[in-house]
């Protein structure tokens, strides 16, 4: 077994990793739509999806079936190449961008050490930016190829918006690069490790030994630019329903629409992961290393959650819910107890636990903003990007370099 791994590991392991990642991400996308609908519904004092399965938990499945079974009409006069290529491009680029993200520290399974991510490239940040830079073509082509004036306007807006915000996005990261001195996302995270836990993350940037400076300005600029880059509220002008029907994907239905949808949620996950890595210490725990008791935090969260789901499930209205929910609760509780009993497994999941915890918080923030903020007007968006975000991120670069120079002396 280990001989085969040593010989062909470079080929087998990435394939397994890609399969797992695609499965996990697509499931996560599906449940992200459920979470988004639920959270926004509760913000607006509604129930959200609650008919399909207990608490609407099977809604993503129903949506998936609907996407496959719906009729897929093609409008007259479309540019066929662009029309068919655009959704594939969007989904492909969104999924590819996840390949360079490290989800945790290196892991060793059955004596085989590998990085927790698909590819460990020394310029991973640049690769990520290169892939997101190409992402605009999916939307622009969809808008232009659909032979529809609303779609065209959506595509145009999207290209203009992405050109404007890509600059601010890239510049807001330069401060972090100056601190890390490296383009590798793994090194950027490792550089943020310190005895003080969350105080040495880039957003606070408290560290004694090397040149470091708080990146709070860069962090805010990055987050705003990232929302514009992923076309989310309040910058979702390419698909502004009130003005453009559905913007660039007006003429898309069925699976082709689903591809845009999955692409959007996947790039949300990618951007949240990047945000976590750059400013919030990636997979690092917020507590100092010496606090070993915090390693039991996954169990401490899982066991009460499982018990609560079990208790809540027994009182659920439908019979299906009274079976599924207590079952899920029992699984959660068992997982929590298992993690407590097997410390080696517990150590293994520490990195991913914090990483996905932080990514989940960022995603929740995304949804929260969608439920709270109104959409920008188009000229406001452009003014904001060029006249505020860009100068501020350039100022951050100058400030950070000056402080680092001064501290190094």
């Amino acid at each position: 077994m280990s001989e085969i791994l040593a010989k062909y590991g470079f080929l087998i392991v990435p394939i397994i990793k890609v399969a797992i990642l695609v499965f996990v991400v697509l499931t996560l996308d599906a449940y992200l739509t459920w979470l988004e609908r639920k959270v926004i519904a509760h913000i607006q004092a509604r129930w959200g999806p609650h008919r399909v399965g207990p608490h609407g938990l099977l809604q993503p499945l129903a949506d998936g079936i609907k996407f496959i079974l719906k009729e897929d009409p093609m409008p007259v006069g479309v540019d066929k190449k662009a029309y068919f290529f655009a959704p594939f491009l969007t989904l492909m680029l969104a999924l590819t961008s996840l390949s360079v993200i490290p989800f945790g520290p290196d892991i060793t399974i059955f004596g085989y050490t590998t990085n927790f991510g698909i590819a460990d490239v020394n310029i991973s940040l640049l690769v990520l930016f290169a892939i997101t830079a190409l992402g605009v073509y999916g939307i622009a082509l969809a808008g232009w190829g659909s032979n529809n004036k609303y779609s065209l306007l959506g595509g145009l807006r999207s290209s203009a918006q992405m050109i404007s915000y890509e600059l601010a996005l890239t510049l807001s990261v330069v401060g972090v690069l100056l601190i890390a001195g490296d383009f590798s996302l793994k090194h950027i995270v490792e550089k943020q490790a310190g005895v003080l836990g969350l105080l040495s993350w880039n957003i606070i940037g408290f560290s004694k030994d090397h040149g470091s400076f708080t990146q709070i300005i860069g962090c805010i600029c990055f987050f705003i630019a990232a929302i514009a880059e992923t076309n989310r509220v309040p910058f979702d002008l390419p698909e502004a329903e009130s003005e453009l029907v559905a913007g660039f994907h007006t003429e898309y239905a069925s699976m082709k629409f689903a591809m845009f949808f999955i692409g959007e949620y996947t790039s949300m996950i990618a951007v949240s992961s990047l945000f976590t890595i750059l400013f919030f210490g990636g997979w690092l725990s917020p507590f100092p290393n010496s606090w070993t008791l915090t390693h039991y935090l996954p169990s401490i969260i899982l066991v009460p959650l499982g018990l609560w789901v079990f208790y809540d499930g027994t009182r659920y209205e439908t019979i299906l819910g009274r079976i599924i929910l207590p079952g899920a609760g029992a699984v959660f509780t068992a997982l929590g107890i298992a993690l407590f009993l097997f410390p080696s497994v517990n150590e293994l999941i520490q990195g991913p636990f914090w990483f996905f915890g932080k990514v989940g918080a960022v995603l929740f923030f995304y949804i929260w903003m969608r439920g709270t903020l109104p959409r920008f007007r188009y000229d406001q968006l452009m003014d904001f990007g060029w006249k505020f975000l860009l100068p501020v991120s350039i100022a951050n670069v100058v400030l950070t370099s000056a402080v680092i120079m001064w501290r190094m002396k």
């Binding site: 662009a82 930016f129 290169a130 830079a133 190409l134 082509l141 065209l152 145009l156 050109i163």
Partner: protein, 167 residues
């Protein structure tokens, strides 16, 4: 001996050439622009193969991303339609074709003469690291670098002046 690297090289080279040919043959400007993007991305792949990772990434970000988005944006904004086919002009027939053949011949001759002792593709090690690249830019090549930035600044000012004139 055909190694994996060689196979990837030929695939990328073929894609680049195909993209370039399709750029000329396509009748719609958007399809031409898309072919150009294909050329840019395959070129980035070729750079990557030579070990110049930074250049490859920047090639995609700047040319594949920013520059070509502007091209596509302008084509879409002007709503340029399918271009009309014209017959070869006399200049193209009598001047262009011989010149193209001559250029192809010169390149082929240069490759044929130097085959067997081609220099290694990249000064890897010195150029591959971004740190080394930036050190070179700001020490040895600082004047060309500053001149280029000056040129870009002038171009930006020119663009602003042109845009302001209408108001």
């Amino acid at each position: 001996m055909i190694s994996g690297v060689l196979v990837i090289f030929f695939v990328l080279a073929a894609l680049a050439v195909l993209g370039a040919v399709s750029l000329i043959l396509q009748s719609h400007p958007i399809h031409s622009a898309l072919s150009l993007i294909l050329v840019m991305v395959s070129l980035a792949g070729l750079y990557l193969l030579m070990g110049a990772e930074f250049i490859a990434a920047v090639q995609i970000i700047v040319y594949g991303g920013a520059v070509m988005v502007l091209f596509i944006f302008v084509i879409m904004l002007l709503n340029a339609g399918v271009e009309e086919r014209t017959n070869f002009s006399k200049l193209a027939t009598f001047g262009g074709i011989p010149l193209a053949l001559a250029l192809g011949g010169i390149i082929a001759a240069a490759i044929a003469r130097s085959s067997g002792h081609l220099p290694p593709p990249a000064a890897s090690g010195a150029m591959s690291s971004t740190r080394e690249l930036s050190r070179l830019l700001f020490s040895e090549f600082v004047y060309p670098f500053e001149l280029t930035s000056f040129l870009i600044l002038v171009a930006i000012l020119g663009a602003i002046v042109l845009a302001q004139r209408e108001n």
